[in-house]
């Protein structure tokens, strides 16, 4: 299989100030159409890393390529066509007088025709089920809706790569599930998704690859299934795998597989064991 990496980094080092680097030599290839989770404690370099993907930060040393082109000489406004970035706090991007205006802001910045801007805005409003709020100021909507608006506003720019920083923080379970269903759909439509989260259940349920960062270095990088089997290594980064995965690992002596990621998978494995016995 020959999948082009859409993002590649080599020897990436970044320092905010002289002293200890926030990123300390990252070599990474993210394949096109990946669904990548990035995990690690605060300060491990997650946000610093993804800010290199859309050019908000330029490497202190090393290089980052997006679709084969180095980011170091490209302005953020140009990279924004390729890499969409939804920030952690929706209030840090919401300013529009109406939700429609908020969503059309990005496409308009891309210099598209008015007709195209309108087409994309309406499509994004529909895709995120926000038509009812189109004429309301987004700043007065509830937190769950503000979060949706912030994702829709980036989605409307139609970037092939979409970065989401803690998209479900502050959301209740149902809103989180609905939002993640939308993200899953975007992935199915061909977007590359990069998801930063502290919620291991979310990572295990949705992503296909997982990158674990610790103190600016790659601790683990592989398929999500492989990563969550490495309990000892994860413990170094003080990361606890999802409860269901821990349960399977505690019951290894009873024959349960070690790569369980969801409750449904656990049930399947458990049922097979029971049925074999009866």
């Amino acid at each position: 299989m020959n999948i082009q990496p859409c993002i590649r980094t080599e020897g990436l080092i970044y320092r905010y100030e002289p002293g200890y680097p926030a990123l300390n030599g990252i070599d990474l290839e993210i394949p096109e159409h990946a669904y990548l989770g990035i995990i690690g404690q605060n300060g491990s370099g997650k946000t610093t890393l993804v800010k290199h993907f859309n050019g908000l930060l330029k490497p202190t040393a090393g290089e980052v390529w997006v679709y084969g082109r180095a980011t170091s000489s490209r302005p953020v406004s140009e990279l924004a066509r390729t890499v969409g970035y939804v920030f952690q706090n929706p209030d840090h991007q919401i300013f529009g007088a109406t939700t429609r205006e908020e969503i059309s802001f990005g496409p308009r910045n891309l210099g598209l025709s008015e007709a195209e801007v309108e087409e994309r805005t309406e499509e994004a409003l529909a895709a995120f089920d926000l038509e009812a709020y189109a004429e309301l100021p987004p700043a007065v909507l509830g937190f769950g809706l503000r979060r949706k608006v912030s994702v829709a506003a980036v989605y409307a720019m139609r970037p092939p790569i979409l970065i989401l920083d803690e998209p479900t923080s502050g959301l209740d379970w149902r809103s989180a599930r609905e939002l993640m269903a939308l993200v899953d759909r975007l992935h199915a439509q061909g977007h590359t998704i990069i998801l930063i989260s502290h919620d291991m259940r979310l990572i295990a349920q949705h992503t296909q690859q997982t990158l674990v960062l610790q103190e600016g270095r790659v601790l683990l990088y592989g398929s999500t299934r492989e990563v969550f089997q490495q309990h000892e290594v994860l413990q170094q980064a003080q990361i606890t795998p999802p409860q269901i995965n821990q349960l399977a690992s505690r019951l290894a002596d009873c024959g349960l597989p070690q790569d369980v990621l969801t409750v449904a998978e656990f049930c399947q494995a458990y049922n097979r064991l029971k049925e074999a016995r009866e």
């Binding site: 953020v76 920030f87 209030d91 991007q93 919401i94 300013f95 910045n109 891309l110």
Partner: protein, 265 residues
């Protein structure tokens, strides 16, 4: 730079232990005298004296250098402009068109420039050696209303936070292809609008939360406020304060009655 937000250098020198009110009164008296005098020698003495006080108070060379870096360009600029634009009296060293350079106006320009430096260093004697809360408690003890003091303290506390949020918001909007440095100044100013609006909304939310947090810790209880570390006015503080006031009175008299330090040279 971070020094801007956190001027205080923790320490336990005589300067640190001094009552913040005494230091503040010293700043006021010394500034008054410097503004009334024009003598180059007075300015030199003040500047050297301020350095000695800072060093004996254990203030780092890094901080002293920082003040020099901030003030030196202004000082040089003022000295040069003064010499150019205020033709001097007496024997000219150089005379060309309107330019007339004399020892007098060189001394005058230098004195004005050094005064800027001396005033800055005297102010930083107070700011470098006094923690933010001691500084504000000192002002409150001298009559500033407590709520003003608290507001000032919180403004200082949230300055770096707000600067950080400003950076985050600009990044978020730039990630949506907003170009901040294209076109004429008017267009650039307009480009900042999305950042300013988001910033205002965020600041309002923070202020609202802050008022709840203050109230839930009994702020505004109808009792007289006390403090974890009350200001202690020690005998040494009294002695120094008396010295400062006496010296100021004497120098003021000398300046007004005897014309001390009235002339640049």
């Amino acid at each position: 730079m971070s020094l801007l937000y956190d001027l205080y250098q923790p320490g336990d020198s005589w300067l640190h232990r001094l009552d913040p009110r005494v230091k503040f009164i010293f700043v006021l008296c010394a500034s008054l005298l410097l503004l009334l005098m024009r003598s180059l020698w007075v300015m030199l003495i003040a500047l050297v004296g301020a350095q000695l006080i800072l060093l004996s108070g254990g203030i780092s060379w890094r901080r002293i250098g920082w003040v020099w870096r901030m003030t030196l360009p202004t000082m040089v600029l003022i000295a040069v402009l003064w010499v150019i634009f205020y033709p001097g009296e007496g024997q000219a060293l150089l005379s060309w068109r309107f330019l007339r350079i004399t020892p007098y106006n060189i001394a005058e320009g230098l004195a004005v420039a050094l005064r800027i430096g001396a005033l800055a260093f005297i102010l930083f004697i107070w700011l470098f050696s006094t923690s933010q809360s001691a500084l504000i408690r000192g002002l409150v003890a001298l009559g500033l209303p407590y709520t003003w003091g608290l507001t000032l303290a919180m403004a200082l506390r949230y300055l770096p936070t707000m600067a950080g949020i400003f950076q985050l918001i600009s990044d978020a909007q730039r990630a949506r292809a907003l170009e901040l440095d294209q076109g004429n100044p008017l267009r650039r100013a307009r480009a900042h609008l999305p950042i300013v609006v988001a910033m205002l909304i965020t600041a309002l939310r923070t202020a609202q939360n802050l008022s709840l947090a203050l109230a839930s810790r009994a702020f505004g209880a109808q009792r007289k406020r006390t403090h974890l570390h009350p200001l202690h006015f020690r005998p040494l503080d009294g002695l120094l304060l008396a010295g400062i006031l006496l010296a100021t009175a004497a120098l003021l008299w000398a300046r007004l009655a005897l014309g001390l330090g009235q002339e640049p040279l």
